[in-house]
């Protein structure tokens, strides 16, 4: 009998061993292999949705890169009382190269870019009827992310020679594995702008007029207007803004009746759809998306940023925009971002009117409308008296722009393109440019660091 046991155990062990070997092939359940991910048109469509998700990351279009720009661009209108030392650095214009928020912006932007590069590389499996739209959306996301990078991490267009100033690396191919070729160098500022403009032009051509809350023709034209304005290409800016207004109008966009309505504030915080003024908005709801504006500006978030008296001094009496401010137990705050589940209003139609007005004024043109009409559209909505054509100046336009778009991420970039200053810092001070993240310099010696870091 013992021999049977002996034999039996050996046979049992062998059988068991064979059975077990097979089970070494376990498969992931929460993710799928990359080879299985982009096989059908539907696969590419869901990857595109994913790319918007990454575009809306906290340190990118989720608002983070705008909040950091506001803090860096602020002179004495904001009060930072938060505990995040890396934000304090930015507010104090004393940035270290390992700043987590700045590193986050860099990583988030290139993640979104890789997402869409994968999509652009898989267009061959997409249904013909969707291919143009998907390509257009992908290029819109890539261009928007690249533009955000170049204006934060490189010298501004009007500072020296864009064709030789280092910009940021342009990445156009999906990453399938990590190789030495991934140690890329910085393209010039001009190359980056060219890539951004080409992508946006392509996008505008291929996107549909109406595309739900995803990017449409108007969004591409609007982003293009923003880029041209930053590049001081005013005729092109006026044209693009005008197209955005018309395309948007055809898709049903118009300024909201009240300024406050453009920010869709509800209490308690809850997801709200796009407003009629949203040319493009990053979607936030209770289960996905982050509203970093709300996080830092709103007392319902961390409430780290308060508004100082110097800002209020800028307004004319009766300006309805003043009514959005309130006192939260001793500190003045803006209520613009009180809905933490609200969408990020990445491009509001009001910005297009302001770009068109400014670009037309600078070129003495009247593409779409004359500058005073556009400015008065903005002023009337907030109960301010119209300004006569003859009295309109560039300063008035820029002033209107500053108040209308206050804290939405424009201030720093407007200071740079108008060669203004922040306290004792000139528009072209190296302190107003983000450092290339330290981690990036370490893993990729081909990247040069910005001056002053």
């Amino acid at each position: 009998m013992k021999r049977y046991i002996y034999k039996g155990t050996i046979i049992f062990s062998l059988l068991f061993t064979i059975a077990c070997s097979k089970s070494l092939d376990t498969q992931p359940t929460s993710s799928i292999d990359q080879a299985e991910a982009l096989k059908t048109s539907d696969d590419v469509q869901v990857a595109l949705v994913g790319a918007y998700y990454d575009m809306g990351s906290a340190d990118l279009f989720g608002g983070g890169s705008s909040v950091t720009a506001e803090l860096l661009g602020d002179y004495n209108e904001l009060n930072w009382t938060g505990t995040f030392q890396d934000m304090t650095q930015i507010k104090n214009k004393d940035i270290t190269t390992n700043n987590v928020f700045i590193t986050g912006t860099w990583l988030d932007a290139y993640k979104a870019i890789n997402d869409v590069n994968n999509i652009l590389g898989a267009l061959s499996v997409v249904n013909a009827s969707d291919a143009g739209r998907i390509e257009g959306e992908a290029k819109f996301i890539r261009a928007s992310s690249l533009f955000e990078l170049v204006r934060l991490f490189a010298k501004s267009w009007n500072d020296g020679t864009p064709s030789s100033n280092p910009g940021v690396p342009i990445i156009l191919n999906p990453t399938k594995g990590i190789t030495a070729a991934d140690k890329v160098s910085r393209n010039s500022v001009q190359e980056v702008y060219d890539q951004v403009i080409n992508d946006l032009k392509d996008a505008e051509g291929k996107l549909p007029l109406d595309n739900g809350f995803f990017a449409n023709k108007a969004a591409a034209a609007a982003m293009l207007a923003r880029v041209y304005l930053q590049k001081e290409d005013y005729p092109a800016a006026a044209d693009a803004a005008n197209r955005a207004i018309n395309l948007g109008g055809a898709a049903g966009l118009s300024l909201t009746d009240k300024y406050a309505d453009a920010f869709a504030i509800v209490f308690p915080p809850a997801p709200v759809g796009n407003t009629t003024e949203d040319v493009f908005a990053i979607q936030v709801n209770t289960s996905s998306g982050i509203n970093a504006f709300s996080r830092y500006f709103s007392p319902y978030g961390r409430g780290d940023i308060q508004i100082k008296p110097a800002h209020f001094d800028l307004y004319e009496a009766g300006d309805d925009r003043l009514n959005l401010f309130y006192n939260a137990a001793g500190s003045d705050v803006t209520g613009k971002f009180d809905n933490r589940y609200g969408n990020i209003h990445t491009i509001r139609l009001a910005e297009m009117y302001l770009i068109r007005a400014e670009a037309n004024f600078r070129t003495s043109g009247s593409v779409g409308a004359n500058p005073a009409d556009d400015i008065n559209l903005i002023r009337r909505r907030v109960n301010l008296t119209p300004i006569a054509d003859a009295n309109l100046t560039l300063d008035i336009i820029l002033h209107e722009r500053k108040l209308e778009l206050a804290f939405e991420g424009f201030n720093l970039h407007d200071i740079k393109r108008t060669k203004a200053s922040i306290g004792s810092l000139n528009y072209n001070s190296p302190k107003l440019i983000f450092p290339i993240p330290k981690r990036e310099i370490i893993v990729n010696p081909n990247l040069t660091q910005n001056e002053g870091y």
Binding site: K2, S13, D182
Partner: protein, 1034 residues
């Protein structure tokens, strides 16, 4: 049937050298110390297969072949005794084994006598573990075994404890040892969802543990192959003994208090400090051109600060007089009683032995709101089915409830309360409620009073409960096939079910960001199934060749399932379940699994009781690695020479034992995520209510094991009748193919990737000295000293620097070194924080001049979190019925980085955080020489990472002190008791350290990782525990 009987007969014929006339011999075995009869002593006739065991009363009767000349008596804990057969009845008295040379040590898939072991195995016995007044057994290992560093992250209950055996062998894969309970590897992962690790080993009732063997060197651990790089803990639970049935009742109760506190400013100093910080900031604003003249800047800032001081004084002017002076730190702590009740029953007969136990632990934490309860039960049964078959089961069930507090990084964690202003009253006079509970203007909780969210509101209106149900079970069958050849089959499971339920009510809205309550419910289940099937062959040939061989296979599969849901907006705080949440804000589920299949073999050969050789090998196949590198081979070899058995040393009286040993082995580490080698897309890219997928991981099809090759040489010795024992080891462990989660260029769209790059090494020495200083009839004093020095160094890692905080993994440095600027104090001219530049000078050397521009200074290594050496020193004294045990434990040569310093010791730079008292030494006027820069409100003057926040982390602790009294046997007999003992025990009674923080044994829970070590961030101190206990045995 007939056939098998024939076979049996045949075997008996073959194995019995000579068959002769049988005779019966009777006798009795006693304990030499007190003459009590000894049950279960095994008795073997030398030169024949006959054997037996003593009965309950110590008597035995053995059938002997006429050829039998002598009998060998053996019992665990006693020296073997060989007695010549004279024909008369025998009376044998057994002597307790001296200093463990003969003690049985559990090794992987078997056991061995201490003197025969050639690897490096430490053993901690039940008596050192039992009744340690702490949540988990690891605490009991502190200072007990050389080379084993045990560190508890903080004083929160049931939370992370790190065990490092001979240093850190990995940078990004796990560094914790494999834990094997009664032969079955168990789940020891952190399963917490609140950002701070929990300890899955806390589910083991430490009073059930008979022994813990720690396999330290590669040769003893290699039998566990791909998971053995960090060493192996073999936990063996108690078994019943044949003969006496015993009931034991144990109880202790006591209190816990923090081992240390920090000093913070009182109201008067705080007010002065903030006002000075206002002037400092105003001066900067003026220099920066924000104000036309200094005075208006000062006026602005002073108004601002005074306004805030009023706000934080509950809206009144009390701050001016210092009338309110709240010690917030004291409010973070609560009375913390601890009680434990044990009852166990054990016994059995020749055929069946059992051990049954139950325990209830009721522990309150020192931090407000922290509490831990554990109920556990165990039944271990061993049964001899027939002459050749043994079977048994070990079953244990544990239910634990942990009322947890937030992780160290949360505003709601109790100890962050120290940031609140001392002028803020505990009770807001405007409402009569705790400060922060209600704003009279809105009727809702305050949004900006006190300066931060008051963590006490969490105690009132929030909870986070982690409930664990855990079942450990294993069954074994052991069949003796022929003499010496045993087949053993084990099947074990470890089922862990955890639910975490949390609710944050309306009062917590400032912290949760949700006005009407938020709740969560997470469920985690981990099932570990394991089977071991192996043959063991033991025999002695020609009296001098001793063989002990093992060969077999094992298979393990682990299934992990997680699901969770969150909701917000509850009708009122009376509703706390998610069904009442108006808004369901999150729902998730995930699962993962892995399998491991292994074949292993080991052969130990001993010649003439003095030449020892051990060879072992294991092949592991793991689902975690790509098909290319799925199987790994882990060999080991060891040799030993017991010189004291040689004739030329036998005559040396003072030397009882001397063994030289050397070993080499290769072990692996597969402790990475289950699908680390794959290129993956994840479906978590939903946007605007539409499903989305995103690339989540970049592939590395070549990913393989991390492997560690270890060399160990040393000796074990016994002198002067074994009253002095010395063990020494030198080891070197080289880890190659490090599984690094390396940074990749972010421009690829990925930030990191698992790769096999790099090497690191650990070198060290260990020694243990045990001595019996005095041993007389009534007085016995023994000492035990252990010491271990380890030097860890990262040899290469492809030029990478890993670590996103101050701790880094860097080539040429030990793992986790602190890297930051070197702080040089305050600039005597203007009070700016200044740093040593430490830039390389063209001609070589470092530029030691200072700069006030943080970016101009170079990052340098400013400290390391791991100690140069660790030690333990234990003294035990027995005098008549009294006993005293004093254990000191310490670490030396490590540093601590106070990451909370940027807020609490920040020259007032972070606004209104209360400051540690050392900040009073701040720069005030030109010419001041100080290490504390000028206070400047919100100006971050010197708060960026630097050596300003580094301190010496060495400490020496009176780890445990036990004073006990046992009723003498004479009395016990009268009252029919086996045992009656009362004792006082103190843990962490005294701590000697230069560290100015709460406690030097610290690592902030939310950030702890292989790299991030030795960081303090509002981390709770360890507990100083004093208990009174009682043991009754019937």
């Amino acid at each position: 049937m007939r056939k098998s009987r024939l076979l049996l007969l045949l075997i008996t014929l073959l194995t019995s050298s000579v068959m002769g006339q049988d005779r019966i011999l009777n006798g009795k075995v006693m304990d030499s110390r007190d003459g009590t009869p000894m049950p279960s002593v095994s008795i073997r006739a030398k030169g024949s297969s006959n054997s037996t065991m003593t009965n309950t009363d110590g008597t035995f009767s053995i059938k002997l072949a006429s050829s039998a000349k002598s009998l060998t008596f053996s019992s665990v804990g006693f020296n073997d005794q060989e007695v010549q057969i004279t024909g008369k009845d025998l009376v044998v008295s057994m002597k307790p084994a001296d200093m463990s040379m003969n003690e049985v040590v559990v090794v992987g898939f078997g056991n061995a006598r201490r003197k025969d072991i050639v690897g490096s195995v430490a053993k901690v016995n039940a008596k050192d573990i039992t009744n340690t007044p702490s949540t988990s057994f690891e605490s009991a290992l502190q200072g007990k075994a050389s080379g084993v560093l045990v560190q508890q992250q903080n004083g929160k209950l049931g939370q992370g404890i790190n065990i490092r055996i001979r240093g850190n062998s990995s940078i990004t894969a796990g560094n914790e040892p494999l834990v094997v309970l009664d032969g079955i590897p168990v789940t020891s992962d952190n399963l917490s969802s609140n950002g701070a690790a929990t300890n899955a080993l806390a589910d083991i009732n430490m009073n059930d543990i008979e022994s813990i063997e720690i396999l330290k060197d590669a040769s003893s651990a290699a039998i566990y192959g791909s998971r053995a790089s960090n060493g192996v803990l073999l936990i063996t639970t108690k078994k019943g003994k044949a003969g006496t049935s015993k009931i034991e009742f144990g109880f202790f109760t006591g209190t816990q208090t923090p081992t240390g506190k920090r000093e913070f400013l009182n109201t008067t100093d705080y007010v002065k400090y903030q006002q000075r910080a206002a002037v400092g900031a105003a001066n900067q604003d003026f220099i920066n051109g924000y104000y036309p003249d200094l005075q208006s800047a000062i006026d602005d800032y002073t108004n601002y600060v005074n306004g805030k001081l009023t706000r934080y004084s509950a809206g009144n002017d009390d701050w001016k007089t210092g009338k309110v002076n709240t010690n917030w730190q004291d409010q973070a702590f609560q009375k913390a009683p601890i009680s434990q009740y044990d009852l166990n029953l054990s016994g059995g007969n020749d055929k069946t032995r059992f051990f049954a136990s139950g325990q209830y632990l009721d522990q309150k934490g020192m931090l407000v709101g922290n509490q831990y309860k554990r109920y556990s039960g165990r039944l271990n049964v061993d049964h001899q089915v027939n002459k050749w078959l043994n079977a048994g089961v070990n079953l244990s069930f544990t239910k634990s409830q942990n009322f947890r507090v937030s992780n160290d990084d949360a505003f709601s964690t109790p100890l962050q309360i120290v940031a609140l202003s001392p002028n803020t009253p505990l009770i807001d006079p405007r409402t009569g409620l705790i400060s922060g509970a209600k704003d009279t203007l809105t009727g809702r909780p305050n949004s900006n009073y006190p300066v931060y969210y008051n963590p006490l509101l969490n105690k009132l209106n929030a909870y986070y409960h982690a409930n664990v149900n855990r079942t450990f079970g294993n069954a074994y069958l052991s069949a003796t096939i022929t003499k010496g050849l045993v087949f053993r089959s084990e099947f074990g499971m470890d089922q862990l079910n955890q639910t975490e339920e949390g609710y944050q009510g309306q009062l917590t809205s400032r912290n949760s960001g949700v006005p009407n309550g938020s709740g969560l419910y997470y469920s985690t289940s981990v099932l570990n199934l394991n089977t071991n099937n192996y043959f063991n062959y033991r025999n002695i040939f020609a009296e001098v060749h001793s063989i002990d061989a093992v060969a077999g296979m094992s298979y393990q599969t682990r299934q992990f399932d997680f699901s969770g849901a969150r909701g917000e907006q509850f009708p009122s705080d009376a509703y706390k379940k998610l069904s009442s949440a108006a808004s369901k804000t999150g729902a998730t589920s995930s699962s993962t699994s892995n399998t491991l299949i292994s074949y292993f073999a080991r052969a130990n050969y001993k010649l003439h009781d003095r030449y020892l050789v051990s060879l072992s090998g294991r092949i592991d196949g793991s689902s975690r690695f790509g098909a290319n590198n799925r199987y790994g081979f882990f060999p080991a070899a060891a040799v030993g020479w017991v010189i004291s058995e040689e004739s030329f040393l036998k005559s040396v009286n003072w030397l009882n034992f001397l063994k030289l040993k050397a070993s080499y082995g290769v072990t692996g580490n597969d402790n990475i995520s289950d699908f680390a080698s794959r290129g993956l897309y994840s479906g978590n890219g939903a946007y605007g209510g539409q499903a989305g997928q995103i690339p989540s991981q970049i592939a590395n099809p070549d990913l393989r094991w991390e492997s560690t090759a270890g060399v160990d040489v040393g000796f074990e010795s016994g002198f002067f009748n074994n009253r002095l024992n010395i063990e020494f080891s030198y080891y070197q462990r080289n880890t190659t193919d490090l599984l690094l989660y390396v940074d990749v260029p972010g421009t690829t769209g990925f930030s990191s990737q698992y790769k096999n790059v790099g090497k690191l090494s650990n070198k060290g020495i260990e020694f243990t000295i045990n001595s019996t200083n005095i041993s007389s009839k009534y007085f016995r004093w023994t000492s035990s000293l252990n010491f271990a020095a380890n030097k860890n160094k990262i040899i290469s890692m492809d030029g990478q620097v890993l670590g996103s905080d101050v701790n880094k993994a860097k080539e040429g440095q030990p793992l986790g070194v602190f890297v930051a600027k070197e702080f040089a104090g305050a600039d005597p001219q203007n009070g700016d924080a200044i740093y040593y530049k430490n830039t390389e000078k063209p001609g070589g050397g470092l530029d030691r001049s200072t700069t006030n521009n943080y970016n101009d200074a170079t990052d340098v290594v400013i400290g390391k979190p791991n100690p140069d050496f660790i030690y333990g020193f234990d003294n035990a004294i027995f005098y008549r019925s009294f006993d005293l045990d004093v254990l000191f434990q310490g670490v030396y040569g490590n540093q601590i980085y106070n990451s909370g310093g940027q807020y609490m010791s920040a020259s007032g730079s972070n606004g209104f955080d209360n400051q540690t008292t050392d900040q009073l030494k701040a720069w005030d006027k030109p010419g001041d020489k100080t290490m504390v820069p000028e206070p400047r409100l919100f100006y971050a003057n010197g708060t960026n990472p630097s050596s300003r926040y580094i301190s010496d982390g060495s400490y020496l602790r009176l780890k445990s002190l036990t004073f006990g009294y046992n009723l003498p046997k004479t009395v016990l007999t009268k009252i029919h008791m086996q045992r009656f003992r009362i004792y006082l025990r103190a843990q962490n009674l005294l701590t000697f350290t230069k560290y100015k923080g709460w406690d030097p044994e610290v690592n902030a829970d939310y950030q702890a990782s292989n790299i991030n070590q030795g960081v303090d961030f509002y981390s709770a101190p360890q507990a100083k525990t004093i208990v009174f206990g009682l043991n009754i045995g019937l």
